[in-house]
Symmetry: C2
């Protein structure tokens, strides 16, 4: 049976329309400054902060990128502190309980950086496999994490996020031996049915598996985005 | 920095007020029929369906309870089918992308059962550690799952849900040997600071650890709820 709240759906549409316009302007402005921005999404505990730390290490050494991070959280500064400890410019975006990030939040967080001449700016979104998929955050690319312990069947149960991202990053792959039921073929097939151009990566921040490949992909996406003049998509 | 959307917060308040009134009436009606209802919440992949299957098995054998399940999902019927296969009366509540369950959804789902003389009715909420915490679903008790692979620090990052539930169920405890960083003492301390009357369970549906204890606790909560006449809280 299908039941949802017409009022909730109607209100969401109203908020989304204004958000998309702002996102388009923000994305174009960052592109014109040479900053490639990436939205990193996934469930609580899918490994977003840990992956970011591994990626930043790789990108700084490999491409000498200047990197910034906007760390969105409901309340705490746990993740923002971890990023700061790694010596990366970061701003904590505290939504005070709101379950996703909207453009007015991104704009304010961006203004809070001392310097903004980043080559690459990451937004670590709220840990939530549902709501963030609907809100354009003004980024040039979006990726989602799915950790092995969560189970491959999340692709059937939370399809919107799989449909909107450029890459699916399967994290915590060092857990694969303990999860013989994790059906990678079924996951890839179902995800690509929702999103035919989806790129898929397998990583483990613990063992380092796949981090270099993902960093190289980010470098390519950045180069492609900045190569084309005019408005950002 | 704290940034959220005033418009979003204002709209949420408006929706919540109507929802709470309906929840109170629903909760009282179920109690008067002898049905104890429990809301089961947690992240995607925290193990809600698997725990429910283990609990149902235990509760049916132990207390001979008549059990029903409302399976909320964004889109698919994956979980509802698993419950049906276990021979349990279940209704699929498909929110079509809405990230939480509201009372008008619960009411419609409840009406869709052929018979409703349940001793115990479970609502498996949308996999989301944020939004469901705010919406009263008309249940007599609420529990949340946190799986070991998600990490104990989720208590700092997603406090609202820890604050509103009666029990925290730490799932996938068979993963503890692979997660030496999972600090149970810090988790319990932080959770009880948010919620002093919180009960905490450790379970593993794989090994069966803790399932009998949790089932016994549910039996007690049911007995307490039904023992007191009048309105349900």
């Amino acid at each position: 049976m299908i039941v949802n709240s017409a009022r909730t759906v109607e209100i969401k549409r109203e908020i989304l329309a204004g958000n998309t316009l702002k996102a388009h302007a923000f994305r174009t402005a960052r592109k014109n400054e040479g900053t490639f921005m990436m939205d990193v999404m996934g469930s609580p505990g899918s490994g977003k902060t840990t992956l970011l730390l591994a990626l930043i290490e790789e990108l700084r050494h490999r491409d000498a990128f200047e990197i910034g991070v906007i760390e969105a959280d409901l309340e705490s500064d746990v993740d923002a502190l971890k990023i700061k400890e790694a010596g990366v410019a970061s701003v904590e975006l505290n939504t005070k309980g709101v379950c996703h990030v909207e453009m007015n939040m991104v704009e304010k967080a961006f203004e809070a950086f001392d310097d903004t001449g980043f080559d690459c700016l990451f937004l670590e979104n709220i840990g939530n496999l549902v709501c963030p998929a609907e809100f354009d955050t003004g980024c040039h690319s979006r990726i989602m994490l799915l950790s092995v312990p969560e189970g491959y069947d999340k692709v059937y149960k939370y399809p919107p996020m799989f449909a909107v991202v450029d890459a699916l990053v399967v994290t915590k792959c060092d857990y694969l031996p303990f999860n013989p039921d994790f059906d990678r073929t079924a996951l890839h097939d179902a995800a690509r049915k929702l999103n035919p151009s989806l790129d898929v990566f397998q990583v483990s921040a613990r063992t380092g598996e796949g981090i270099a490949e993902l960093a190289a992909w980010i470098g390519s996406r950045r180069a492609e985005t900045l190569a084309h003049p005019g408005d950002a998509r």
